[in-house]
């Protein structure tokens, strides 16, 4: 049974395919670059203050959530227990 494929079989073909992929990828990045005018340098400044504030808030969100999970779990267990009785 014949097998048809575009897989490269020689080194030259492999190189050609790689070059094509590189060019396409590079072009995408280059164009994408032009559309992004976000000021990363400014956003980088003060990142430690931002992280400090995030730390407090995220820790509080997670702790609160875990406590509420524990609360619901305990409540569910009590309810199941009552139903069984």
């Amino acid at each position: 049974m014949p097998l048809y494929t575009d897989l490269p079989t020689t080194d030259a073909e492999r190189q050609k395919m790689l070059n094509r992929a590189l060019t396409d990828r590079t072009r995408c990045v280059a164009i994408g670059n032009q559309f992004d005018n976000f000021d990363y340098s400014t956003a980088k400044n003060g990142i430690n203050d931002f992280v400090e504030a995030s730390f407090q808030r995220i820790t509080s969100i997670i702790t609160e959530t875990m406590e509420s999970f524990d609360g619901s779990a305990t409540q569910a267990t009590r309810s199941d227990h009552n139903n069984l009785r």
Binding site: V29, N33, F38
Partner: protein, 171 residues
């Protein structure tokens, strides 16, 4: 999925400035983030992969270009909502942060949860930094859990992010 080193060098040489700035921004944020959350505990090992962050950055720019090409050529610049969404998408996908907690660690349950969801939490927090505003607490947690537990296709993930992040960027 990773970008070959040869391509990296080529891209960085030609378009280095913007890529470098975005890369530095994510690295700086990730380092500060990991140190603040885990540095005090000797039983916790933290790892930051610069390779993976580079992949995040390059794939982000490819996404922006494809998005412009297919859907949105009228708009001159990319909105901060889309910047946040595409960046978060690749952070969740490549997972450049790792946290290993030793079995004998005294880390709290909250710390363990944060360690297990480190990339998702960082992605949402990074999106907040890009947008310059905080998500409501409930939404923050929903996004983290959605990123972690739901299996999104590329399109679905983008739509979820655009719905949440884009909405808050414009309101």
């Amino acid at each position: 999925m990773g970008v070959p080193h040869k391509l990296r060098d080529q891209i960085t040489t030609i378009y280095g400035k913007k890529i470098g700035e975005k890369n530095d921004f994510i690295v700086e944020h990730a380092l500060a983030f990991l140190k603040r959350f885990f540095f005090d505990d000797a039983s916790i090992t933290i790892v930051l992969s610069s390779d993976q962050i580079y992949d995040v950055v390059l794939n982000y720019f490819v996404d922006i270009q494809r998005f412009k090409e297919r859907r949105d050529m009228q708009e001159e610049q990319t909105s901060s909502g889309k910047i946040a969404a595409f960046t978060a998408k690749w952070l969740v996908k490549f997972k450049p942060l790792s946290v290993v907690i030793q079995p004998n660690s005294q880390a709290s349950e909250a710390t363990t949860f944060i360690a297990r969801h480190i990339n998702e939490i960082f992605a949402v927090s990074h999106a907040e930094r890009i947008l310059g505003k905080e998500f409501p607490r409930k939404l923050f947690l929903e996004l983290v859990l959605d990123f972690r537990q739901k299996k999104f296709s590329e399109t679905q993930l983008y739509m979820v992010l655009e719905q949440h992040i884009g909405y808050y960027a414009h309101n």
